[in-house]
């Protein structure tokens, strides 16, 4: 067996968490809703702004905390009995991630402290790209590289519009959210097809 294919097997195991597309569907819905409520919060006033501000917090906390439980519940009930269960946990802390984490931290601090009008869109895109690129390097799933590049392009375009940091970040998040939702649904359809093939093979044997 070649060295490359061995590395691919390890990545395949790591990628199994995203194989059903459900994580992307849920995070896509979450990111899109966070972006919409975040933008509405910034651009409304009075009671409407209070409502969207509250909704933004509820959606953010709800999806950060509840999303994980909901995902695990669906997987436990429907996915794992059919496709098998694998815990995606890391074997150990990967030191290669340290420079990326430092860069993300620096970008974030720079955005909050200076809020440079031209760079906000670009840096928001870069910030999201780095997070998604990390998932791509860990799992080898090319879709995540695609989402990351989309965030970079989106950020680049938004740099010319000169939005505030909040608006730029929410716009890029929304863009990535819609892309993830679409990618997740396509992946889910492929997963269902694969599941049918597995079940047919099991039936034959």
């Amino acid at each position: 067996m070649k060295q490359e294919s061995l590395e691919k097997w390890i990545q395949k195991a790591r990628a199994s968490w995203w194989e059903d597309g459900l994580t992307e569907i849920l995070s896509g819905i979450g990111l899109t809703l966070i972006a919409i409520s975040g933008i509405l919060k910034e651009h409304t006033s009075g009671r409407a702004a209070d409502f969207w501000g509250f909704a933004w917090v509820v959606i953010l906390v709800g999806f950060s905390v509840g999303g994980k439980f909901l995902l695990q519940w669906i997987k436990r009930r429907w996915i794992w009995p059919r496709a098998g269960y694998a815990h995606p946990g890391h074997q150990r802390f990967d030191v290669r991630v340290v420079p990326e984490l430092l860069l993300i931290l620096l970008v974030f601090i720079a955005l909050i402290v200076w809020e440079p009008p031209v760079l906000t869109g670009l840096l928001s895109g870069l910030f999201i790209f780095l997070v998604l690129f990390r998932i791509y390097r860990y799992s080898g799933i090319k879709r995540f590289l695609g989402y990351g590049i989309l965030a970079l392009i989106g950020g680049f375009i938004l740099a010319f519009v000169r939005l505030s940091f909040g608006d730029a970040l929410m716009s890029v998040l929304g863009l990535v959210g819609v892309a993830q939702l679409w990618g997740g649904i396509s992946q889910f359809r492929r997963f269902i097809k694969m599941l049918r093939q597995w079940e047919a093979q099991a039936h034959e044997s």
Binding site: M1, W9, A13, S16, G84, Y85, A86, P88
Partner: protein, 102 residues
């Protein structure tokens, strides 16, 4: 080819080197734990074949197998032991060296 090259070949861990077991070890290395069905789906091995390979790896102390019930259904969980993890990392290192020399 140098003499070192041929010596390097003989150093391989034969238990891991077998393709089916290598696939199982790589899958378990990439996860914290995985059940029988997951390994079966991913490797495409038959149930009997997979059971034999898992038993061999367990006997060598490379993996541990835990049988439990999820609801009313039995589940066989497999995970790498620290010994298995070290052995697989040694194999990866060997494989890298070997690839470099070819």
């Amino acid at each position: 080819m140098s003499r070192d090259f041929y010596r390097e070949i003989t150093k391989v861990d034969r238990l891991i080197h077998e393709p089916a077991r290598l696939a199982i070890m790589a899958l378990l290395y990439g996860t914290k734990e995985a059940d029988f069905l997951f390994i079966l789906r991913q490797t495409g091995l038959t149930k009997g074949n997979l059971s034999v390979h898992l038993s061999k790896l367990e006997e060598a102390g490379y993996i541990e197998i835990e049988k439990r019930f999820v609801g009313k259904k039995p589940q066989t969980l497999c995970r790498l032991t620290p010994k298995g993890q070290r052995a697989f990392e040694r194999y990866l290192e060997w494989s890298r060296n070997f690839s470099r020399q070819i």
